[in-house]
Amino acid sequence: MLHGIGLGLRQPLARALFAEPPPALRWLELHPENYLGRGGLYASLLAEARERWPLVTHGLSMGFGALAPYDPSALDALARFVGALGCPWHSDHLCFASVDGVYLHDLLPLPRTEEALDVCVRRIGEMSAALPVPVALEPISYYAEPPCADAALDEAAFVREVLERADARLLLDVNNVLVNAENHGYDPRAFIDRLPLERVVQLHVAGHHVRADGMRIDTHAAPICDEVYALFAYTMERLARPVPVLLERDDAFPPFAELAAEIARLDAIYREALARVGAEHVA
């Protein structure tokens, strides 16, 4: 069973990570898009990583709000990749990232409508049927409300509906929850309380940027702030069971020792939270 603190495998971090892995590090996450059909350095990194740590895949380009069915050859390649790595599940985002064959290379919010719900359930169903492992979805951070006159669901209700109708797993990004709560004015703890936490298979934790106007931008390019650490502790207590927790860092990479310190702090919070609720930590 995968549990404890993991790190995203990123090329700029790899050399330091492989040379001196943080003691608390238990696993790595990677984006299939960065490795599929790719040789050279990326193939070498993947080969070394899979020898040393359990791996989990997290997609960037197959948002579940895609209007068109997934390309069968892309699904097949993903299935072979995920299967070969022995991943326990594969995740992608509750968003749309492409339409009419055009890829945005970003994660765009979906309107919380029946139409969007139906599309997501169909895409998750397609992916679940194609992959040898369960599928998890990650609700994204978003900065504007999509225009949707018939929106009847709030964010938590929409996530819950998709999860239940698609019978999917949840990848809960604690940083996304905080960023959205601050930007859109709601209580992040109350939001987490309304999610079907029994479906959580993995957490993400990251840093974000606070603009001069107070808007929070989910950059993965800053240290984790105290508010996110606190929300992470809260989430762990609510989960009350060991889960894999990923530190995401995608840009503005600091000296690796700083990331190692963040991993150590996350691990300490993780263990303390599990101890507080009497849950057994898996060594």
Binding site: G39, G40, L67, V99, L104, L108, P111, A144, C148
Partner: protein
């Protein structure tokens, strides 16, 4: 607004010359984010070209690129590769560029592609040491690049010199390498990349296309090129020609 209309409006917001007015003002941020992510990757991939061609000119060219050819690949690296192809025919970018700008971008785009070009699993199957009966087996990552100026070494002035550069990555080595090849060896590589034929017959095609006797010096020079290519990993050996 229907889901499809909203999603298409967002694509237009991300890539069109003039963003649509159908989305709420808060979406303007997404245009910045979408283009910045792609531009940043291109800037890393083509760092020297970016400096030579100028940041603002490159950003404007990138905006023209995504407006006319919105990204059709889920892989950022392929979008970055497609931008180089576009930029190399973007008159607005190149008309005012330094003379070696296009060659430099061509070179960096080639290095970018070769750096992570996949190697088929069976690339080395049946490969044996060089002999004249077998068909040459080329390094699968090998690309030949015709340049009008020497741009491959950053420390040297990019003077005019017509050359063919061999750009490749060896098995088990993550670095990209390159060197200039002689014209006869380039012709031999072109033949080897075509229909399988024996190395001996291809040497004759290069050195004595009309059936005349081969010049011993030319043969010796080309065999020397073969030795260098073998040593550098540009060619892997030969493989039996299947019937």
């Amino acid at each position: 607004m229907k889901l499809a209309d909203y999603q298409r409006a967002t694509v237009a917001l991300g890539f069109a010359r003039e963003p649509p007015a159908t989305l709420p003002p808060g979406f303007a941020l997404y245009r910045e984010m979408i283009q910045a992510r792609l531009v940043d990757m291109a800037k890393v991939a083509y760092a020297r070209s970016w400096r030579v061609l100028g940041h603002d000119a490159c950003v404007r060219s990138f905006a023209r690129f995504v407006a006319s050819e919105p990204p059709s690949s889920p892989h950022l690296r392929e979008v970055v590769g497609a931008f180089a192809t576009f930029a190399l025919r973007d008159a607005e970018l190149l008309d005012s560029a330094a003379p070696h700008g296009p060659d430099l971008l061509c070179f960096e785009a080639c290095v970018w592609e070769v750096a992570t070009a996949p190697v088929p699993e069976d690339a080395f199957a049946g490969v044996r040491e060089l002999d004249f009966e077998g068909a040459l087996v080329l390094q699968p990552t090998l690309r030949t690049l015709v340049l009008a100026r020497a741009v491959e070494e950053e420390r040297t002035e990019p003077h005019a010199i017509s050359s063919v550069l061999l750009v490749y990555r060896r098995a088990g080595d993550d670095d990209v390498h390159w060197y200039r090849a002689t014209p006869p060896f380039v012709r031999l590589l072109a033949l080897a990349a075509g229909a399988p034929a024996s190395l001996g017959s291809q040497l004759r095609q290069v050195l004595a296309p009309g059936g005349e006797p081969m010049e011993p010096e030319a043969l010796s020079s080309l065999v020397g090129d073969l030795g260098v290519a073998l040593e550098r990993g540009v060619i892997l050996g030969v493989r039996a020609i299947s019937a």
